[in-house]
Symmetry: C2
Subunit: 262 residues, 2 copies
């Protein structure tokens, strides 16, 4: 169900220059720049391309946690771009049990294969309060058509997303609970790091233990115990949603995490 957010929440139109006086959360300094930075990492962007991306700020909305952005079997008529917060793709069983298929973090997008008009095979939902651009199909296609650099970067980003999906399948398929968790933490460390949201091995992971359970194919109780074990071993520290990776080397070793597939 699409919640219509009151304009008062988010009314900025046009490019929004970095404003040093706006000190809300450190990571929200300039949400669009994270996207530009990430895409530029995949393929170098020209100035007009950067400008075009900045123009997307026009479509940004704030959505509350648990807002469903695209319902399973629904047809997406717009592309989604995440600027802050975590969103997820997931499937649900009749029993109510869920499996999260992917996280959408700032800089990630969802265009369902350039909006082919097929119904989606999963649901997309905000795991936290998010700032998300809903870009109309026509505008999005225009953007891709006009700016080949953006199109290329998005294509490569999609390859990375595919690689991550493979990684997740292998993770659930052949790792134990602690190993799975370690692997996920390594991945988040890397992904959040690449968008500048890791400082001194620490980052915010605004996920419930239930979310983690539904990601890793474990029960939430077991997730709790696995996290305790990782803390006991001195691999991580966890206070609320704040994670600190104490022993990145050992964590990677435990997970057999291979960097660089992103």
């Amino acid at each position: 169900m699409e919640t219509i957010v009151p304009v008062t929440v988010m009314n900025s139109t046009g490019p929004e220059p970095a404003d040093p006086s706006r000190r809300t959360a450190p990571e929200e300094a300039d949400p669009v720049s994270a996207l530009i930075c990430r895409l530029d990492g995949f393929a170098p962007l020209t100035e007009p391309e950067r400008a075009a991306l900045l123009g997307l700020a026009r479509y940004v909305r704030t959505v509350e946690r648990h807002t469903i952005l695209v319902e399973q079997d629904g047809v997406a008529d717009h592309a989604l771009i995440v600027f802050s917060g975590f969103a997820s793709r997931y499937k649900r069983r009749a029993s109510g049990r869920r499996q999260i298929l992917a996280y959408l973090i700032p800089g990630d997008f969802c265009d369902r294969g350039a909006l082919h008009g097929y119904p989606l095979d999963h649901t997309i939902e905000a795991l936290t309060r998010c700032r998300i651009a809903k870009v109309p199909r026509a505008v999005y296609l225009e953007l891709l058509g006009q700016h080949p650099g953006i199109a290329l970067a998005l294509q490569r980003a999609k390859l990375a997303e595919e690689a991550t999906a493979h990684e997740w399948l292998a993770n659930i398929g052949m790792r134990s609970g602690p190993e799975r968790m370690a692997h996920l933490l390594c991945e988040l460390l890397e992904r959040l790091g690449s968008i500048g949201q890791v400082v001194a091995g620490q980052f915010e992971m605004p996920l419930t233990q239930t979310d983690l359970a539904e990601t890793l194919g474990l029960s939430s109780v077991h997730v709790n115990r696995v996290l305790q074990a990782l803390r006991r071993e001195g691999l991580i520290a966890l206070r609320g949603r704040h994670v600190r990776i104490l022993a990145p080397r050992q964590l990677r070793e435990l997970a057999e995490f291979e960097a660089g597939y992103l």
Copy 2:
């Protein structure tokens, strides 16, 4: 303990014309037609497009079981198209444990995002003796450029492949052993059916129980017991590699299998 199987490396160079005198299996009557049929299902093909596809027969090779087609971290300089047999994508852990990420069955292809020049994040190996076309990068790109219908069909086929990958992740993440197996069987029934390899609810599944285990994230012993359970319940019959689905309705129910994502 996982036995290390001696690996044959593909060494054939240069096109090897299809040899009409080789009469091996009945279902191999015209391997290319299966591909055409499948692609045509995704997007209607013109006559010249069909002709162009037939021309691919030129690149078909027979590869033995366990032949590695593309090594992990290798860069693919050609597209693969499967005409008969089963191949697999998989990842391996240091312990030797494997996780199969996908099956490549007749009509499936692998172009690694139109040959971006990135190293592959997984290995591609023949699970059985296969007939596979190795199409050089240049030829493949030419084919896509010349024939938009083929390009579109391949793009849609890729969306289907992505949907299948999601399905597998959800399968391993939230289903029990028997449910996973049932789901896989339903998927194979549907996929093999769509290429005419199912007759009266029966098909050939040339997979070892170890292969199945590495697909479903179970031990091979457990796979064996799960299969016995499904037989005991009268859901399937299994003799050698020959599967007969006795109660498709109940099997789908057990698996909560939703048709139509292919």
